[in-house]
Amino acid sequence: VIAVFWAWLIASASPAAAQAPTRGGTLKVNYLEPVTLNSAVVSGTTAGVYGAQLFAGLVQLDERFNPKPYLAERWDISADGRAYTFHLVKDATFHDGKPVTAADVKFSIETSKALHPFGLAMFRYLEAIDAPNPHTVVIRLSKPYPALMRTLVPLLVPILPKHVYEEGDIKKNPASRKPVGSGPFKFVDWQQGQFIVFERYENFFRKGRPYLDRIVYEFIPDPATRVAAMETDRIHLIPFSYVPFVDARRLEKRPNVGLSTKGYEGYGSINQVFMNLRNPYLKELKVRQAIAHALNKDFIAKELLIGFGKPATGPLVSPNPFYSAQVARYDYSLEKANQLLDEAGFRRGADGIRFKLNHELLAAFPDIIKTVAEYMKEQLRTLGIDVVMRASPDFATYVSRVSNWEFDITTDFLSNYPDPVIGLDRTYLSSNIKKGVAYSNVTGYSNSEVDRLLAEAQSEQNFDKRKRLYHRVQEILVADLPIVWINEIQFATLYHKDLAGLPTGVLGLLDPLDGVYWTKIPR
């Protein structure tokens, strides 16, 4: 009896042994349809959601933003920080059976540098790439660039097979529609407007993985239909809050649906109010401070974003390793805000209005953008600032107006990405004040101290020193306030509760799904 009891104890104490990942089953995902499956030439979330399944990267990021082995089983960084040597796993192959070699890595990085939207930001100091043998790659830089390790992920630098993509114009290569990669899943079919199908790559170099037989991505343009499909188990996974917040809260209560806001730390989106510093009112710091004091970030997070947000303190999201909370605070106070506007010398007219501002309204993401913009209009009206909303009919119009500085204020959300060289440099470096360039430094913010610190931080190898530089940058930015950072967006992943092993790294669903499995395979 004791032996039986003992055996039972052991069995119940090791649930992991009892629940080894099951192989098999189809995962049905619903997300935006991509324009291309070649994630080396595009950026954004569709590049990762689809591309990371097809293409492996040199490294992945763990829960704390640290690189962990993927195609590279280990790496050494030279003392001067200018040579990165990667040792590739020996048995990795592309989906056509050819081995993944150093030449493919070299080709991929060169392609990324030339064609990826962040190519120049990621590889600005790239000098040469050597391939001393088929399994060793040495990246040589003209200056140390510690951000490199956080950019060599499948999302940003997917490894392409050179023999497939080297001929001709890669953007027009038919293999961009039927890609060949070395990731856990291989391409099967893409019916535009309907679905994309990937299936398990049997020779994936992580043995035994992936567990799923197939991933089917179904495209459902209407949010109400999307919700209905999730409700009835016709869809098992929806990333990036691709259903309205209200519906996510409703779906979450269903017995078959789980909701998680983890895995978006590395993407790091912040909902923010951009202020055009060329405007005669907004160029006054006190006016910007008044606007910051007039917005109740807790109210926005709790009521407007129904909990899918967290008050932001500055330009970086709080899980980011370079985040600092030691910055100026602008607590909610309409009284303080009014006082600041009086001090700035903008008195109320007979109609109670101090001045007028034009708010350029982005028509997309109404949950995040429109609700906040409308709230802000009402708040600013009580301060005597008359906000006139101008809605852009579509995204191209919006991006064009904002990047050509045709706005006073605008609300949008921008992402940090894993390293501040992508997330901060483009928005705050004065050298990136470039009319007509999308998501450049559109506010016209220019501070030589910030320029110097950001440049220094790009090449600072010591993590603690680098962190101090970015802390100082955040302190100055929050004091100068070219932007009011409202909320860290807590995107929601909706998933079927029988799914296990969803990615836990900071890039979440922009990572490969090789560890995902069904605890109970749906029929």
Partner: protein, 324 residues
């Protein structure tokens, strides 16, 4: 006679089609922002170099007149060019979307015309107050409700609460593995909700139309003559009266084909039906001018052809209307 008539109609439509192409081209290009902005915006930023290379690649850096002449030259040679965002031939992209849209619109129209006329005849022929009220209630309801709302209600009723039909798509992904017959049944199964949603509005309209004209026609002298000759009532109503009562329905169906296409955009969006309507929306939002103009060009040709067919059908129904 019919051939020259068709030829004349098609030739007559040429200037209209040209105007559509030029108009769309100019409109897309004078709107702020372009495909390079769109791509850069989606990426969350990029460099000047990449923006410039996209514009050079698509010829967007050249004067508008030059771009337009180049485009028209290609269209005349039957080349609709490459989609800017998807980098695929426009012709190929549009052609793969035509069959689903035709299937949807065709089924919806058949449903609307057959169902609508049947209801209309019934209401005129056997005017019991219950039936009359039911038909007019149905038609007011059908005509007054926004099509996307009807769609969502259908979805909630027959796909979520009573899961009889699929919620989205045109076919089961990966096929049914049961041969072509099973695949056809599968598509028909997916088709029911979208086709009924789209057909409902027009069914309402056609039933009102048939009802009104039937009431008129049934009072005419030749019908009285037919009764006097001792013909069966069924034959009088279905042969003699209906033929005349159908004329307005055919006219409406022909005229409305453009509107049905517009309605299809909404229905395709609600049910994730992979037709042309969704492609149009996508092309507009992405500033993909070759794709947008390609679709508009082909669909305007389609509308012209449908109108010609309507005219010919008219002649078949009513010999007085045959072209001379």
């Amino acid at each position: 006679v019919a051939v020259t008539y068709v030829g004349r109609r098609v030739l007559g439509a040429m200037p209209l089609i040209l105007a559509i192409v030029v108009g769309t081209f100019v409109l897309v290009h004078i709107a702020p922002g372009d495909v390079a902005m769109m791509l850069a915006g989606e990426a969350g930023g990029t460099s000047e170099e990449i923006l410039k290379s996209i514009r050079v690649e698509y010829g967007l850096d050249r004067p508008l007149a030059e771009q337009l002449t180049m485009y028209l030259g290609k269209v005349l040679r039957g080349d609709l060019g490459f989609s800017h965002s998807y980098r695929r031939p426009v012709m190929e992209m549009v052609l793969e979307r035509v069959p689903p849209t035709l299937l949807l619109i065709g089924s919806a129209l058949v449903l609307a015309i057959v169902g609508g006329t049947a209801l209309g005849i019934l209401a005129a022929w056997r005017p019991s107050s219950l039936l009359l009220n039911a038909v007019s209630l149905l038609s007011v309801f059908g005509y007054a409700t926004p099509i996307f709302w009807t769609g969502i209600m259908m979805l909630l009723l027959f796909s979520v609460h009573v899961p009889l039909f699929p919620s989205h798509g045109m076919a089961t992904v990966g096929g049914t593995s049961g041969g072509w017959w099973a695949d056809a049944v599968d598509i028909a199964h997916h088709l029911v909700l979208p086709a009924v949603t789209l057909g409902f509005v027009y069914m309402a309209l056609y039933s009102r139309l048939t009802h009104a004209t039937m009431l008129q026609v049934l009072r005419l002298d030749y019908i009285r003559t037919a009764y006097a000759k001792g013909l069966a009532e069924r034959s009088i109503v279905l042969k003699h009266a209906l033929r005349n009562a159908l004329l307005p329905v055919v006219t409406m169906a022909g005229v409305q084909i453009g509107q049905v296409l517009a309605g299809a955009v909404l229905v395709e969006t609600v049910f994730g039906w992979p037709g042309m309507g969704r492609l149009v929306l996508d092309a507009i939002l992405r500033r993909d001018s070759p794709l947008l103009i390609g679709i508009l060009l082909l669909s305007s040709i389609g509308v012209v052809l449908v109108n010609v067919v309507t005219d010919l059908l008219y002649g078949a129904l009513d010999p007085r209307m045959r072209p001379v």
